[in-house]
Symmetry: C2
Subunit: 477 residues, 2 copies
């Protein structure tokens, strides 16, 4: 027995040394194993760029179904659609996971206007998700402009009866526009909770965008722990209107702003995550999940957010099948429901995974738009992070240079764990907040090649993760 | 004297070693000098993303002047405009370089159609630059489809009286779409010369694009050494029409294709390069040139090709002035005339540089569209190439990862020389051939941030080149 152990140890050391040597010898090029991977990745890209289905799937989802707010008839259509396309791809099994979702409805088109120096100005406005309605006649009140929640809090009771106008704009010097979003979105999410406390009549928020334009951006807000009687209506106005209003307030601080919205929250509605999988050939009990969210805001068609993520996720499985790549671990595609206002689908998925004692070893989410690929954000332990970063030379020929540590995505992060490797697909972010949560998030804003390159990028990292992440005993979780 | 020499040598060696040491010590981070550069680059980006003029310049050039084909009244307006904006930026001097340019005009809107199985199909078509007209009634002839010049040549006299249809499509598996363009454009440029030789009646070429759509792409063609009496009309048809025609030819090989165009080449016309400069503070006799081309094709507004290059080039100087960066060498901005059909402006610029014994040490051209930055292509000797590549860590935070050897651009390459460092700005190429040379190349296709990031990228590499390329004695050309 000892002899065997020694032999094994020796073999192990010898193999280790040999591999190290190989790496050193081929420092400039690729090792023989990396050459195999490089060829496989090239195959995935070639296939995506010539035989892709994602663009036509996206056309169908966005143009024939359209915006898909949780609880709406469109989400039900999208669920049926999702099941159908998964079956068409020929996944080993496809099923629905029932989940109750919030059901907020916008009601009639919102109206906003004010008069400054005798000139009436109509303001592009939209209610924020979960906001209450205004009274039927709307709200008419003076406006106090602030740049932050703290500035609002400092107003205290001065807010009473006023409309609070949150007008901190994106920091456009941040190259990653998601960081700029992160630096502003507290105004949208928590503005009403802060101001409702002090008896403000309503809040209006500058739209979350880098650009100055006429499109209001909706998005989720929350009343936090505020008692219901203190709920106040919350809406977003376009960035250009925010600039104009700010200027008008300087000249005419007592102008009265009027807005009207009839949105409401109905009882929770039944809905589904759509799930499909290719069974693993070696360790089917280990699961990689790849997904995007099927729901979207209602103003546009939910193209970049997140139709692209949905079709790219399915295309990963499609590219595997098309190229006869059989994953060693189970590859599961999930179209999550209700990412936009509740992430109930994500929570349900993680809850069931735990209940069923499923072993998720990794996940990949695409929910940052369908623009040209830039890389991945890695949420993993340090060993696996380094492993993923070592694939840079295989991925960089495809413009995938960014392999930094960071978050993955709202839908897969409930699966987090010390030995779970989560990855977020990171396309170029420059155009994303031109469309995000607006009527402009439509199919025509997505470029076919950029979408396909994204599918191939995702398929490539899943291929590598499936091959190395678990089976490589050195980094076995 | 010997002592002094030895002292100098010793000092040199000591400084060299010290610098090497510094580099080693700070291997993971930045040296103190690199920290200064990093801060300066950040300033340039911040400035471009918040105080840019390029987007409004581009709006003016593309929407108030529009398409600018050499010899047209629009180019004259563009020259006046160029002089005006250069002066507004406050360059030390601004002047015009007279140059005679080809003057080809499209004439009336082209027409094309054919009937297959009793169904008449209209075909989106446009004449190619320098093509002759068809007879007034147009051409009507049977079609032979080929995929290459060689395949056409092999037809020999079978071409007589026929329309030759070049239908080799882009290789969509190439990640860099310019490579796909390079692999197809010979059909457009030389098709008529090859087929005219054998008495073909005309050539039609599949449009140069990755996508399948309804937009014909114009572009230059040449009759080479063909005698004038053998010139035949040449036109591009949309990629979708090319697919349909190809299918129809399979079913109906004897269908007759009809097209009509009235384009012609007029006598050369007077025009100008627009030139402006900031005088260098230390070695003003050394010149860096940064430029794009002011002319464009006539079908669209010349936005991505090359309005963006023009405004970005001027913005380099604007950002220098705005941030009080005084170049050591002279920084010259050039709006080249006639890149699209003749590069006469480029030749004139290089000719005058030689005549005036100007010492160009480097150049940067932006003529690959205004999309999100990816890097630069370097045409330089190996020492300077390595120097530029060593700036990767300074540039990569801005998405500038590509620093490969390659061409620079059609307008600055006449300045090539062993000690001249030429650089081409390389934005993302995925969307470029959706618009290139079509009616879709309009202002609305340009994203403000992407344009500005390009200006800042260009300003950053010019800043580094100005600082290190010549003054650093180790790489003195």
């Amino acid at each position: 027995m000892k002899k065997l152990s020694l032999l094994l140890l020796f073999t192990f050391l010898w193999v280790s040394c040999d591999q190290k040597q190989k790496k050193i010898i081929n420092k400039k090029g690729l090792s023989s194993e990396e050459k195999i991977d490089s060829t496989k990745i090239k195959t995935l890209f070639n296939s995506a760029l010539t035989q892709s289905k994602s663009y036509e799937w996206l056309r169908d989802l966005t143009q024939n179904i359209g915006g898909r707010l949780s609880g709406s008839p469109e989400t039900q259509k999208a669920v049926e659609w999702g099941k159908k396309v998964m079956k068409e791809v020929g996944l080993d099994s496809v099923w629905l996971q029932p989940v109750m979702v919030p059901h907020w409805v916008r009601g009639e088109k919102e109206i906003a206007n004010y008069t400054s120096n005798g000139i009436k100005k109509n303001v592009p406005i939209c209610a924020l998700g979960f906001s209450v309605a205004t009274p039927k006649a709307g709200i008419l009140a003076e406006v106090i402009e602030v740049k932050s929640l703290d500035e609002a809090r400092a107003l205290g009771n001065k807010m009473k009866g006023k409309i609070i106008f949150f007008n901190r704009s994106f920091d456009n010097t941040l190259i990653n526009t998601f960081k700029a979003y992160g630096g502003c979105v507290d105004q949208r999410v928590r503005g009403a909770a802060v101001c409702g406390e002090f008896g403000a009549k309503g809040v209006i928020v500058r739209s979350m965008t880098n650009s100055v334009d006429d499109y209001p951006h909706t998005g989720i807000m929350s009343y936090g722990n505020l008692p219901k009687e203190k709920y106040i209506p919350a809406a977003a106005i376009s960035s250009r209107a925010a600039n104009v209003l700010s200027d008008d307030l300087k000249l005419n601080p007592n102008l009265k702003f009027h807005f009207k919205q009839s949105c409401k929250t109905l009882p929770d509605a039944p809905s589904f995550n759509v799930v499909g999988e290719i069974k693993g050939t070696e360790t089917p009990e280990n699961i990689f999940v790849v997904g995007g969210h099927l729901d979207s805001w209602d103003l546009g068609e939910g193209a970049h957010d997140d139709g692209t993520g949905v079709v790219q996720s399915l295309e990963v499985a499609y590219l595997f099948k098309k190229n006869n790549i059989k994953p060693k671990n189970t590859l599961r595609v999930v179209f999550f429901m209700n990412e936009e206002n509740g992430t109930r689908g994500a929570k349900k998925y993680a809850e069931l995974a735990k209940l069923n004692k499923e072993n998720h070893i990794g996940g990949l989410e695409s929910d940052a738009g369908g623009h040209t690929p830039r890389g991945f954000s890695i949420d993993a332990n340090s060993v696996n992070t380094k492993l993923l970063q070592s694939w840079k030379k295989l991925l960089s020929p495809y413009g995938l240079h960014d392999l930094d540590k960071g978050g993955s995505g709202a839908d897969i992060s409930p699966l987090r764990g010390e030995n779970v490797t989560l990855v977020g697909y990171r396309p170029d972010s420059q155009r994303y907040f031109d469309y995000h949560h607006t009527s402009r998030d439509t199919f025509d804003k997505v470029n076919k090649r950029e979408l396909e390159l994204g599918s191939a990028s995702m398929a490539s990292i899943i291929y590598l993760m499936d091959k190395y992440l678990y089976s490589n005993t050195m980094v076995k979780p």
